[in-house]
């Protein structure tokens, strides 16, 4: 028989420390849905998604009941639509966006990702059409998520794409102004995007992926926070070891659920993404973990070091617990989705410059940040360029999910609701970056991209 204290520890993690599986994401290839007529292409996409994902939600809910573990989200990721739609003789791809939205609603999932284009080295005609349709699609749909990869360590940074995405983000905010620019919360600009990410808004089903695949994202900031409370005042050796042990347990749970979902759905298991993903709920915050290491408020001096330790220890603990680890794997710092981050911004301790530093050592980037509605497209592009540079030079994924909240100023509050949370509008640097962004072209790949 298992040890009674081990059993009660697991039960307490689920009941009181918000331990859950954050998402089971079914990746579906849509390559075989290409067709010159966009309506036929959309119908094929809708039919295929509904066929492949029909049992996803019911299976997820059955696993929840049997294992006693909440699976917060069931989601779908698809082949980047720019690749599928390239065959279509049409200039407006938003009809495909609506087909994705309808398919997601029909399957009962809460997001579908992959309204995406990969343009790190340059644009195809289809990439340009897709990017042009992003604002309209995000305004017209509720469950579709979009992402654009503008840089890789191998290719460098496509600065034309960076400039374009600044304008696309502004237009998306404008078309969803009635909801404080909500469309931008479903749009991610990546550097070094990964092909098997199960988390939204950036999930898509990459070119090297199989026909269908199950990827699972675990969570559990509350469990790590609780464990660190028990080692107050101890050295960082103890802190790192505590995080590793906790991450191991969390990931094992993810692995068991991933294996069960894969077997029951008859779909191969892809990866477990070892991410600490916060929610706006109290006790489910990454910021509070950093504070538990001894910082008064997240964002003060020492925060970057604390996050670096956390991110690394999560990976070390998790990697042995799963057969295949992938996705983004690390600690997320989405500001509006993290109760502690929200408070840290409100108190004025956490600012955009410190967040940028933190993105050098966390798993993603400037995530769910609200900025004033009058922030220019060029400034947003320059923020994207900075993040892309961090990703490209450090050989890691970085992303920007930024909301220029219409008619909002520094200090105002923006409500997105649900898991997307609420954000306080942050100050951006007012000095102009327009001439820098107007140059266009590509920032070359760094020397360490030449590894052959």
């Amino acid at each position: 028989m298992l040890n009674i204290s081990d059993i009660m520890q697991t039960v307490n993690m689920i009941d009181h420390q918000h331990l859950d599986i954050r998402t089971i994401t079914l990746g579906i290839s849509l390559n075989d849905c290409a067709h010159p007529d966009i309506k036929t292409c959309s119908r094929k996409i809708y039919d295929k998604i509904c066929r492949k994902a029909t049992g996803l939600v019911a299976t997820g809910e059955q696993i929840e009941r049997e294992y006693g573990i909440p699976i917060v989200n069931k989601r779908i990721s698809v082949t980047p639509i720019a690749q599928v739609a390239a065959s279509c003789e049409s200039d407006d791809y938003s009809v495909i966006g609506r087909a994705l939205d309808n398919a997601a609603k029909n399957c009962g999932v809460n997001f579908i990702g992959g309204y995406s284009a990969l343009v790190h080295k340059g644009f195809t005609e289809a990439d340009r059409k897709l990017i042009a349709s992003i604002p309209k699609t995000l305004a017209e749909t509720s469950l579709v998520c979009s992402s654009v990869n503008v840089a890789t360590t191998k290719a460098g940074i496509n600065m034309d794409a960076v400039a374009l995405m600044g304008r696309v983000i502004k237009e998306t905010a404008s078309l969803t102004a009635a909801q404080d620019g909500l469309g931008c919360a479903k749009l991610v600009v990546f550097a070094n995007a990964v092909e098997d990410n199960p988390f939204m808004a950036g999930a898509f089903h990459g070119a090297g992926e199989p026909e269908c695949v199950i990827n699972v994202g675990v969570s559990g900031p509350g469990v790590v926070w609780r464990a660190l409370k028990d080692v107050k005042g101890k050295s960082f050796d103890v802190v790192a070891e505590t995080v590793k042990r906790t991450a191991f347990r969390i990931t094992r749970m993810g692995q068991v659920v991933a294996a069960a979902a894969s077997e029951r759905l008859g779909v191969p298991f892809g990866i477990v993404d070892l991410s600490l993903a916060p929610t706006p709920a109290k006790g489910d915050s990454v910021a509070r973990i950093l504070e538990a290491m001894g910082l008064e408020t997240c964002g003060t001096h020492g925060t970057t070091a604390a996050l670096a330790l956390l991110n690394d220890a999560v990976k070390k603990g998790g990697v042995m617990a799963s057969g295949h680890v992938g996705g983004l794997s690390g600690a997320f710092i989405p500001v509006s989705e993290d109760e502690g981050m929200i408070e840290a911004v409100k108190s004025g301790v956490l600012n955009i410059e410190k967040l940028e530093a933190m993105t050098c050592v966390c798993s993603v980037g400037l995530d769910m940040i609200a900025v004033p509605g009058d922030t220019t497209a060029e400034t947003i592009s320059a923020i994207i360029a900075d993040e892309a540079a961090i990703g490209v030079i450090n050989n890691k994924t970085t992303a920007v999910r930024i909301i220029p909240a219409p008619n909002k100023n520094v200090g105002d509050s923006v409500e997105f609701g649900g898991l997307l949370g609420s954000a306080t509008v942050m100050r951006v640097n007012s000095a102009v970056s327009g001439e820098f962004i107007a140059r266009g072209g590509r920032i070359p790949a760094p020397i360490h991209s030449l590894r052959n």
Binding site: L2, M8, M253
Partner: protein, 89 residues
């Protein structure tokens, strides 16, 4: 299916009897059981085998949770493999 049950509640007479008789009514076999009282809180863990029962796992789970709510017991039942995975390398 092997499952782990946990029962916690303020200690009183008859908790084990109540839970175990419900399991017996549903033909669920108890493989192992341990219980303790910590600071007045009764805590029991059971390893059970649901394959001896004609009821589905969902039915057994609903019956246990229903009984727990009626008698103010906090009852969980989960597949045993999750605990083995989390606590054994």
């Amino acid at each position: 299916m092997k499952a782990v049950m946990t029962v916690t509640a303020p200690d009183r007479v008859g908790i084990i009897a109540g839970v175990c008789s419900l399991l017996a009514e549903m033909d669920v076999n108890i493989l192992d059981l341990s219980q303790t009282v910590m600071q007045g809180i009764f805590t029991m863990t059971l390893l059970v085998d649901t394959s001896t029962s004609s009821h589905t796992f969902d039915e057994i789970r609903s019956a246990l949770i229903g009984r727990g709510e009626a008698e103010k017991l906090d009852i969980h039942i989960q597949r045993a493999d999750i605990f083995e995975a989390m606590h054994r390398v």
